[in-house]
């Protein structure tokens, strides 16, 4: 019982902290991207790419959380 609780906390932390990091990075990239976009609208594709890059972190967090729950 105790272990299940700890696992749940671990899984939560894995995805939560990863999401926090992604959010932090995306907020800065997003602000800068909006700025660049206002001046050069043709950069939209490139900016979507840049904003998308940190998302991998939260996906990895999700993978880790899933593994904790599935393999535990």
């Amino acid at each position: 019982m105790m272990e299940t609780g700890l696992m749940a906390i671990g899984a939560g932390l894995a995805i939560g902290l990863a999401a926090l990091g992604t959010g932090l990075a995306q907020s800065r990239i997003g602000a800068a991207g909006a700025g660049a976009l206002a001046e050069k609208p043709d950069l939209l594709g490139a900016i979507i790419l840049l904003i998308a890059i940190p998302e991998t972190v939260v996906i990895l967090g999700f993978a880790t959380a899933a593994m904790i729950l599935l393999l535990g």
Binding site: S27, I29, A31, A32, G33, A34, G35, A36, A38, E39
Partner: protein, 358 residues
Amino acid sequence: MSGYEYGNARLRAMKSRLLSEADYRVLARSESLDDLIGALTRTAYRRAVEAALVRVGEPEAISYALSQDLIATARRIRAFYEPPAQHMLAIILRSYDVHNLKTILRGVERGAAPDEIRALLLPIGDLTEALLDDLVQMPSLRAAIDRIATLRLPQAAALTAAQAGRTDAILSDLELALERWYFETAMQQAQAGRGEAASLREALAVDADLTNLLTVLRLVHAPGERAALQRRIEPGGWRALFVGPGRLPFALLESAVAEPALAGVADVLRQSIYAVPLRAGVEAARRSGRLSDVERSLKRWRLRWRAGLIARDPLGTGVPLGYLALKVNEIGNLRWIARGVRARLAADAILAEVEWVA
């Protein structure tokens, strides 16, 4: 979030639209003002020139377009940031108030025509075009200061204090008062700006140094004036003429004043970051006999230093400091090119005075 991401990204994109060396070459080759107007419509100044062609006649169109473009740019940039970053930007822009007031006081004192003074203004600080335009028309230095006081501009106290302290306030006292007012108020406000304002504090210190250096050079270059002034200044010594201190300690500057020649000043300051431009400028001045060569060398160094801040401090005040220095320099270049084209100077002669950062 530091609050600079959005604005700095926009400024960096705007920086890529600044004129290049190739653009300047095309512009300088214009054969007439008409030609130059045409060439400018193929640059980022297109909109400003189009408006100017409606607003004023063709002879004044360029100078009108340049001023309006600068004003519009500054207005746009102010909207890029929110407090506290916006406050830091306001401090940077306020330095142009000092430039404008100094230009007006100088112009009014030597009885320059209002249009002539207007053509040198950079109305992007807190003092609006309307206020500056009123001051430009004052008949005398005194009248100008009276009007500054009556309008209660922020610089009024510093100016009236400098005036009251002297039986015959001369221009240089007033200019010093303005510089000091800016350095002190700006430095104090920049302290609130945390790490992102580090570049701003550094830029304020560098500007104080450069002002002081020019004072030192002027004194050394004119020993007669130095002797006359020595009697006038208080026993406190030469520091009565300095702003700051910036990075250079007053004692060092004072020891430089005592040097017999410009080369000596460069020698005293050989350890400072200004050593290279100072030495180059002194060398040029030695050949030409003109102090303005040193001034130009330092000015060129300042432009490069400021432009370098964009890369060194991408997420703080470095980007607005760098961009504005480049933009203002560009406006200066274009004003000069317009003068050169009107005077039918050769393209090379015009380009020789144009500054750009590759």
